[in-house]
């Protein structure tokens, strides 16, 4: 059987079209893979860059110095009492110790540069050591003291030695001294434990997250105490008791819209109402907690309603059938069944509140606060705001602190989400 030439051409054209269509198909599929790849690559880039940048803040550079604790300087009253020791001067012994190590240094400028190798926190650390052991007064002992952030960066390779002297933070002479100390074996790297135990500081090597962690805990406590009961009550009302009428519709539409309102608007509400009308304290966890509670409320209500809806009607009917009132049926039987789902939603809402920054900037939680907050109305800061503040700080060493702060924040979030998953898998009943 022979085919005509024109038929052949048509077949070839058709085959060509099919090939073309298949190629489009492959391209389309590749585009989908590329899209997912792009999104996951961005996530990976974020995590890798943060981990990489944070690594240099994990440790800090310390130097071991022979410090002579001259009794007249550190114990001005001479009675060895804690008050006297706390009032003593500790920077002079440090200066003398450095001078003794580098006797060849002369001139005010160079001496000041030499002193700048040590962190400003070194004298406080020395004071704490003396307060802990007053027997050190009048003796010469060796102390391991923190060096300045610039020295730390230099030894971690973040300050380029080949750059012109005027373009870097450390002079050639200072680098020489540091190298001499390193050659002596006096320099060591130790874990930056202060990062979790110190409050905020202008000095990168002294800055820590303890204040922000406490502020976050206090704020979240207020948020939880307000949003959980109110959210659960609202969910129970809307799902179990509310009559189907205009008003209920209004409340429902309103809750859905509230969930999509930009978070900064809640901050404006807090500023205009809680700070200016009610005169509540600026930057206090109580105000931050209220604002975040209003923001979290829709999340909890929506999660709560979904959890209540998932409880089968048979539970309700059985309770009513044995004589429980509608309220008893809901409180004693339906709500306990729905609680795991509600808790999961609450934890996720809390995690979102923990990461929220913008509304808290509006109510003044953005100030530099070195003290640890101890009450609900103390000015304080929270983890994400601390990250924001460090991100803006001019010192180079704060880049690593910012990233390490992010690691801490993400650690809290992972823990909370893991808790939500655990609650769901452990307590949820499936019907």
């Amino acid at each position: 059987m022979s085919s005509s030439p024109s038929n052949d051409a048509a077949t070839r054209a058709a085959e060509g079209r099919i090939q073309e269509r298949y190629r489009t198909e492959r391209l389309f599929q590749a585009a989908g893979v590329a899209a997912i790849g792009f999104a996951l690559f961005a996530l990976l880039a974020l995590l890798v860059s943060i981990t990489y940048q944070s690594s240099s803040a994990l440790s800090h550079t310390y130097v071991e110095l022979e410090v002579e604790l001259d009794a007249d300087t550190v114990d001005p009253r001479g009675d060895g009492s804690p008050e006297s020791l706390a009032a003593g001067g500790y920077s002079r012994p440090l200066r003398n110790a450095l001078r003794a190590r580098f006797p060849e240094v002369s001139g005010r400028k160079n001496k000041r540069r030499l002193n700048a190798l040590l962190s400003d926190g070194a004298e406080y650390q020395l004071r704490d050591a003396v307060l802990a052991d007053p027997g050190l007064v009048g003796q010469t002992a060796s102390f391991v003291l923190p060096m300045s952030d610039d020295v730390d960066l230099l030894l971690k390779g973040d300050i380029d030695r080949n750059v012109a002297e005027s373009d870097r933070k450390l002079t050639d002479l200072q680098i020489e001294w540091v190298d001499a100390l390193v050659a002596d074996g006096a320099v060591s790297h130790e874990w930056n434990t202060g990062f979790l135990t110190n409050g905020d500081s202008r000095e990168p090597e002294l800055a820590g997250m303890q204040g922000a962690i406490r502020g976050s805990l206090l704020t979240l406590l207020v948020t939880l105490l307000l949003s959980f009961p109110v959210g659960v009550a609202a969910a129970v009302y809307l799902e179990e008791f509310a009559p189907r009428n205009r008003f209920t519709d209004l409340v429902e539409v309103n809750i859905n819209n509230l969930a999509a309102v930009p978070s900064i608007i809640f901050g404006l509400l807090g500023l205009a109402v809680f700070l200016n009308v009610f005169g509540m304290p600026r930057g206090a966890p109580i105000v931050g907690g209220i604002v975040l509670a209003l923001m979290t409320l829709p999340t909890i209500i929506i999660a709560g309603r979904a959890a209540l809806l998932a409880v089968p009607p048979s539970i309700r009917e059985a309770a009513l059938g044995v004589g429980a009132s509608p309220t008893q049926a809901v409180l004693h039987h339906v709500l306990p069944q729905a609680l795991p789902g509600i808790l999961t939603g609450t934890i996720i809402g809390m995690a979102r509140a923990l990461g929220e920054t913008a509304p808290l900037l509006m109510i003044g939680m953005v100030a530099f606060i070195a003290d640890l907050p101890s009450g609900l109305s103390d000015p304080s800061t929270v983890l994400p705001v601390q990250i924001f503040l460090w991100n803006d700080a001019p010192e180079r060493a704060f880049v690593a602190r910012t990233s390490l702060g992010i690691v801490v924040l993400l650690g809290f979030l992972v823990a909370m989400n893991a808790a939500a998953v655990w609650v769901r898998s452990r307590f949820e009943t499936r019907y």
């Binding site: 269509r21 974020l46 009550a233 609202a234 309103n254 999509a260 900064i264 608007i265 509006m362 924040l409």
Partner: protein
């Protein structure tokens, strides 16, 4: 002082509960003696709850009222006493003196502190003492009266459960109204502050003028003393960054949703979807830091390699990061919309010989279009309201430009900048933030409502 009263509340509640229950038990008589036993309407616990409500709620109301209005009351009272003292020399108002006293000026001997401060400090202590006493008194009276009268009301005729349940329903109803009150609070507070702004700056200037420099000078003879409040460049900057973000999130999110819905295997889907959700779960301050510290410098290097002028806080870095952040919004909502299209449409198309991609492009996506459009609108609303990424990575300069390598500013950046400095609350500068906030609120609200409407109205019904 009032802090202690807050701690007393739970004790009071426990007391009320046990008193009510004991009273009900006594009424019901000895359970072992069937003859003297009276069947009460409700369980003893209900009577306990009945007394609990009456014993704890009135004192709670006293405390809430004192907390909310106490400060203003004290201020007004002390201010009137300062004025009555006749010590004011006209240089300061009574309110200013009060603020200084609160700041501890009266304790500092010498400069600044004067007789009026000492007097005011005394008056403040006196008034606060009086108010504390009044609160404690009102608290005690309210608690005692509630406890006494509610206990007396417990008789055989009292249907305690009905009372308790009604109170509970009112509490539940009130809780669900909190969300409505929040919305009303937002609208009212933004509206009032914005109205005060529009008394200083005309709405026409705000919405149509192209000059934005809100820095009002301290002295009238300085340059730019009046400040300019034409918000068009701010809106334009917001649009530019949103457009950049959507040009990333739109295609990537949609293609990711299509791949997940039609091509990915069940196992791939089960780990890709949660990973995409992680992107949305990462706090925006983290993405902002990424944009500012990592992506921003890279964009600059890239732009300079191409011979372009790149601002250090370019719109591109902020826009791209924001785009990545909202990918999950687009993808998960589009995924839902695509999955809602009946299988029969897809199978019919495939059976007619269309390839998978032709089916998707010509059948599935058009059928799911309302849902996809809704997803895009919600993502746009999200991008407009997003704050931290732009605060950290976009600039402050209000440039009118479409060049993504230049620095632009956005509505949210301006709100943050205007309100985080130290300034008086009533200046045009701070009020401008509320006008911007009101605009932002209504634009995002409109987008959300339109998105819902699009999804509802244009959804194709197949059943």
């Amino acid at each position: 002082m009032t802090g202690l009263l807050w701690l007393l509340l739970p004790l009071l509640a426990a007391l009320g509960w046990s008193v009510g229950r004991a009273r009900a038990r006594a009424l019901a008589g000895d359970p072992s003696d069937a003859g003297s036993r009276i069947e009460l309407h409700s369980l003893p616990g209900h009577y306990g709850q009945f007394v609990l409500i009456w014993a704890a709620l009135p004192p709670l109301a006293v405390l809430v009222l004192a907390t909310v209005f106490g400060g203003a009351l004290v201020d007004g009272w002390v201010a009137s006493q300062i004025e009555a003292s006749g010590l004011l020399d006209g240089s300061k108002s009574a309110e200013q003196v009060l603020v200084e006293v609160r700041a501890g000026l009266a304790l500092l001997e010498g400069e600044g502190a004067s007789l009026v401060h000492v007097q005011a400090s005394d008056a403040l202590a006196r008034v606060e003492g009086t108010l504390d006493l009044a609160v404690v008194g009102a608290f005690a009276v309210a608690a005692a009266a509630g406890l006494y009268f509610s206990r007396r009301r417990i008789t055989i005729a009292l249907r305690a459960r009905n009372h308790v349940e009604r109170a509970l329903h009112i509490a539940l109803l009130f809780s669900s109204v909190v969300a409505v009150l929040t919305t009303i609070g937002i609208v009212v507070s933004l509206f009032f502050e914005a109205m005060r702004f529009f008394q200083l700056v005309s709405p026409a200037e705000f919405f149509f003028s192209t000059e934005w420099s809100p820095q009002t000078a301290l002295r009238s003879d300085q340059v730019g003393s009046s400040g300019a409040f034409g918000a068009v460049p701010v809106f334009a900057g917001t649009l530019l960054i949103t457009a950049i973000a959507m040009s990333i999130a739109g295609p990537v999110g949609l293609m990711a949703a299509i791949h997940l819905a039609f091509y990915a295997s069940e196992s791939a889907r089960s780990w890709i979807k949660p990973l995409l959700e992680v992107i949305a779960g990462i706090p925006t301050v983290v993405w902002g830091s990424f944009a500012a510290l990592t992506l921003g410098p890279q964009v600059r290097v890239l732009g300079e390699a191409l011979g372009l002028q790149v601002a250090s806080e370019s719109a591109l870095a902020a826009g791209v990061t924001m785009g990545v952040m909202i990918i999950p919004f687009v993808s998960s909502l589009s995924d839902d919309a695509l999955n809602a299209v009946p299988r029969s449409l897809r199978e019919g198309s495939l059976a007619m010989g269309a390839t998978e991609s032709e089916t998707i492009r010509k059948v599935m996506v058009p059928a799911a279009l309302p849902g996809i459009v809704g997803a895009f609108l919600l993502a746009v609303s999200r991008a407009i309201g997003e704050t931290m990424i732009v605060v950290m990575a976009a600039g402050l300069a209000a440039n009118m430009t479409a060049n993504p390598f230049e620095a632009v500013t956005t509505v949210t950046v301006q709100i943050v900048t205007l309100l985080t400095g130290d300034q008086e609350f009533d200046s045009a500068k701070t009020l401008a933030a509320f006008a911007l906030g009101l605009t932002l609120f209504f634009v995002t609200l409109a987008l959300n409502l339109v998105a819902l409407r699009v999804v509802r109205t244009f959804r194709e019904e197949y059943e």
